[in-house]
């Protein structure tokens, strides 16, 4: 759930829509030539190709330069794309003869579909004995690169959990503490409202902030297993009492006026939701850790004046989930194309183990304001928010990947619409569950 990912429209998808037919035809042609099993990339031998994301290029590029200088015979030729462009490109590219050796992926449902189609390699075997570098990474993040217990992808980038941001100023004026439980939150709502503030800012116009509420509530009420059953295609998994209760609590919060007026038109892609909190019009915001970087641009000195407070999603009384559990973006990952030949595969593993999560790599991430998902990074991170979030990640028993990424593309598309209806109160918890149950196994 990186911000870049959420930019609603890429040039490519715009074109795809304009000439939907043409795109369908083009992709058809691509897949038709994709049946030949040539070695990953255009060249044979151990030379590798890599497709990455422009946003992560500053971290990836130095490792490629370093690797290529020492391994002329297995040099990597890297290409970087904008996030949406890449998503469109890899969808058709991964099954084609031009599939890159090193595949950038967000893990989750899309990666599972690669695994099901036999397009990426099980790296469990090749990694055994070379996995020293993986021991540095937090296990909860490594889990996100696994499908059915087997490692298909290794983490390459920062972690970004979702957490509560508070305007400390507003909380003080209202005279309340950070809500530790859902009941605290519900009783804070009328107090904040009567003091003339909006309780919670929500960027519903962008849709994706909705999912943070349901994924956290379901976790707090029923624990991480509820959503695991969905991913395991258990019949009727969405009708779990935890899901129904979470939906009900969301609608109760809406009825109580918990979200800032007009929340369904507020865009999180332009940080309008963050602005409401940072400028003191709303008291709280549930957002990803990535929002932190933008606060200063909206309200100068907000952070340095100590107006920012943050914390975990409140606990739900009687809930099974550990209040230390987090949700969000564990990391992005490298997978290896199944079209790679054995030399390429072993070169890829060497590349991972010699360049990923080395001290300079981790430091590069930390210095640019990111939170590296490694076991011991607190010394590298600035005091305050980054260290605090790092601690949340480190102590979290479970790190739930954002549901939209974790679900299959078809289920994810339905999820967006159903969630939208739920937050608009055009739907009921039961209707939500029924509609989502139809996507099980799709």
């Amino acid at each position: 759930m990186t911000r870049a990912m959420r930019t609603p429209l890429s040039r490519r998808s715009f074109l795809a829509a304009g000439g939907g037919l043409a795109t369908l035809a083009a992709t058809g042609a691509l897949s038709a030539c994709g049946s030949g099993r040539s070695a990953g990339g255009s060249s044979a031998g151990a030379a590798m190709t890599m497709w990455g994301i422009t946003g992560d290029q500053p971290f990836i590029e130095p490792t490629v330069t370093e690797w290529n200088a020492a391994h002329a015979d297995s040099a990597i030729s890297a290409n970087y794309f904008g996030t949406n462009d890449y998503k469109d490109k890899i969808r058709t590219g991964i099954s084609s003869a031009q599939a890159p050796t090193l595949v950038y992926t967000w893990g989750g449902g899309t990666m599972r579909s690669y695994v099901d189609a036999g397009l990426v390699q099980d790296l469990t075997g090749p990694l055994s004995g070379k996995s020293g570098f993986l021991d540095k990474v937090l296990p909860s993040v490594l889990d996100a690169g696994k499908v059915d217990g087997k490692t298909y992808a290794v983490p390459l980038s920062a972690s970004a959990p979702v957490l509560f941001y508070y305007n400390h100023d507003v909380l003080t004026k209202v005279g309340i503490e950070q809500p530790k439980t859902w009941d605290d939150l519900m009783s804070a709502v009328p107090k904040i409202k009567s003091a003339g503030f909006a309780p919670i800012s929500l960027g519903g116009g962008s849709k994706w902030p909705y999912l943070m509420w349901i994924e956290y509530l379901v976790d707090r009420i029923g624990g991480p297993d509820v959503f695991k059953r969905v991913l395991d295609n258990t019949e009727g998994a969405w009708s779990d009492p935890a899901v129904l209760q979470a939906c009900q609590q969301i609608q109760d919060l809406i009825s109580a006026g918990g979200f800032a007026d007009g929340y369904a038109s507020v865009s999180a892609d332009t940080n309008a939701d963050l602005a409401l909190m940072a400028t003191g019009r709303a008291a709280m915001l549930l957002q990803g850790a990535w929002a932190f970087d933008s606060i200063d641009g909206i309200a100068k000195n907000f952070v340095s004046d100590g107006k920012l407070a943050y914390g975990a999603f409140p606990a739900v009384s009687g809930g099974k989930g550990d209040p230390m559990n987090i949700a969000g973006n564990p990391s992005q990952f490298w997978a290896v194309s199944s079209k790679a030949n054995p030399q390429q595969t072993s070169a890829a593993i060497d590349y991972f183990s010699s360049t990923l999560w080395t001290d300079p790599y981790t430091k590069r991430l930390a210095d640019s304001g990111n939170i590296p998902p490694v076991k011991d990074a607190s010394a590298l991170l600035p005091k305050g928010f980054p260290q605090g979030v790092y601690e949340m990640i480190q102590k979290a028993p479970s790190f739930q990947m954002s549901w939209d990424l974790a679900l299959s593309p078809a289920a994810s598309a339905a999820f967006w619409t159903q969630l939208d209806l739920l937050f608009n109160k055009s739907s009921t918890p039961q209707k939500f569950a029924d509609a989502m149950n139809k996507t099980i196994g799709k």
Partner: protein, 310 residues
């Protein structure tokens, strides 16, 4: 025009034409460039989409033939009918809103007074903006907290424009109109300038006022322009995508999930390219039918001049 006295160049040209054969008839080869592009980017994709509509395809694994499954699914899905209904609403609302306004602006700017050139330039400004830019700008303008209402302190403008299921379709139609009225105004401006001034002179001698002139001369004379503009509007409404996608992504819920958006979201968000192809084929069919109806009903294909007696 006699070429005999023109000397060598004229004679050479005559010779060249003779060598080309068939006298004044242009060679069929002139058709080739357009035909190649049309076949490559029009016909071939259409056929491929038609074929894909009978398959299940996620874009990763090879398409599997599943016969009529997608067609049955899509045609029994209330979402498809909702999308059709919304698309129809957008077509009608867009026409009702855009045609009178474009006509008035077009006729107004067709006048030759100097200040009108400046005004026309302003009216046509949205024409140079991309749909993406317009979408992003309007999203910001319509923001309930930081948008227009906030800037001017007008409470009535503080609405949940894009989040309220009852409002959102009208908001979208308005933004679409803002984008396309300039284009249709331009058509009407060009059309109005073609009307011979003698008609108006004769009418004013006969004592017709401005309003009567507008209804008795301008509108009948613009008949073909109105038909062309209507065709473009109706067929264009069928493919509205970019602006709506940026503004609402088809939401909230299904409130602005027009047929083209339904196609995109099914194909590229849900990765069900077979089902999306069904919707694509439907779109093509509806577009063809509507365009045919308009040209038939209006007699546009007979292309008679509106200037008999002028």
């Amino acid at each position: 025009m006699t070429a005999t006295t023109a000397g060598a160049p004229g004679a050479a040209r005559e010779g060249a034409r003779a060598a080309g054969g068939r006298g004044a008839e242009p060679s069929a080869w002139y058709l080739a460039p357009a035909l190649i592009f049309f076949v490559a980017f029009g016909i071939v994709p259409l056929v491929v989409a038609a074929v894909l509509s009978f398959t299940t395809w996620d874009g990763l694994t090879p398409p599997k033939f599943t016969g009529l499954d997608n067609w049955v699914d899509e045609l029994s899905d209330p979402v498809t009918y909702n999308a059709l209904w919304l698309t129809l609403k957008v077509i009608v609302l867009s026409w009702v809103l855009q045609t009178p306004l474009s006509l008035l602006i077009g006729v107004f700017t067709a006048g030759r007074q100097r200040y009108r050139a400046v005004l026309s330039a302003l009216y046509f400004l949205p024409l140079v903006l991309s749909a993406a830019a317009i979408g992003i700008a309007f999203k910001a303008l319509l923001d309930p907290n930081y948008g227009l209402g906030h800037a001017f302190g007008v409470k009535a403008l503080v609405q949940d424009w894009l989040g309220n299921t009852d409002l959102v379709l009208y908001t979208v139609v308005l933004v679409i109109a803002w984008q396309f009225i300039p284009f249709h105004s331009l058509l009407y401006q060009a059309g109005a300038r073609q009307i011979p001034p003698s008609l108006y002179e004769a009418a004013s001698i006969d004592g017709a006022g401005r309003v009567q002139q507008f209804f008795s001369i301008t509108i009948p004379q613009l008949k073909n322009t109105i038909i062309a503009s209507t065709t473009l509007m109706v067929v264009g409404s069928l493919t509205y995508f970019d602006l709506v996608f940026i503004l609402t992504q088809g939401g909230p819920g299904y409130a602005t999930r027009l047929l083209p958006l339904d196609m995109y979201l099914t194909g590229f968000q849900a990765s069900q390219l077979g089902s999306a192809s069904v919707l694509a084929v439907l779109l093509v069919l509806i577009g063809l039918v509507l365009a045919t109806i308009i040209t038939r009903v209006s007699g546009f294909n007979r292309m008679t001049s509106q200037q008999e007696g002028a």
